[in-house]
Amino acid sequence: MIAQELYDLLKTTFSDGILEAKLDGVIDPWVSVAPDRILDVARFLRDDERTQFDLLTLLSGVDMTKGTLAAVYHLYSMKRNHKIVLKTFVPETHPHVQSVASIWRTADWQEREAFDMYGMIFDGHPDLRRILMPDDWDGHPLRKDYQVPEFYNGMKVPY
């Protein structure tokens, strides 16, 4: 399926859940989904006969600046050999996205990473803890406004 067909399919199935899309002029066409509908969309994309996205290749967090965070899902179907990118945008003040860890287990650790690095909260995640940084670390390092602390546990951090 090409991106346009996928978009039409999603639009007819989840009319209000699909917010916008950019299908031409980009290397990877993407569709933006409402943060509280992503779980339904993900389940549909994995289970539907026409889409069969069985592989979540990458889930990443992005700081879009101006107070917006995004989660980006790169989906791939090994059976049908097509791909699509989903994006959800959430405000920094209320960074709640539905977790898709129950659909693709890949998302488990990658959502933890997005939480660790950007402070996005994935509702329904089985075990949302920091993954890379130490548990007692303050702040989310990949946010654009992040300030590196002077000391951590008595160790000087800057050079």
Partner: protein, 164 residues
Amino acid sequence: MGLLNQRFENGNVLLTSVDDVLAWGRLSSLWAMQFGLACCAIEMMATGASHYDLDRFGTFFRSSPRQADVMIVAGTVTLKMASRIKTLYDQMAEPRYVLSMGSCANCGGPYWEHGYHVLKGVDRVIPVDVYVPGCPPRPEALMEGLLKLKEKIRKERLILKQTA
């Protein structure tokens, strides 16, 4: 014993100081702690394996800190890892030595500026005896570092009373 090998008739006496013998004994079998942290560890492995054969210098890797004389810190020390390194160092029996291998362990290496999770030099948590520069240092450089450490041990005096 290459120098002394089959040089003497039977029952000879060699004169030397006890300190020299102790130093000679310690430097001839420096057991290193097997402790790979990052890329440099791969070069350390290569040094220990068939091509470079670290064993000929009397150095081979032990898994337990309690059996090791020298800790080769090979790679990037992150803040999460730093406290563990301190613990491992404390577990080693004295006299103990630390060889810092690679720019990362020396000073933070390529991550010195933006590495918010990288400790800029392992000498911020444990004392270091020898620094080997490079990213990664070649196996020859690591060997050179160990030889330098041996020179240092050769000059150490354990029994002699320290003045001042």
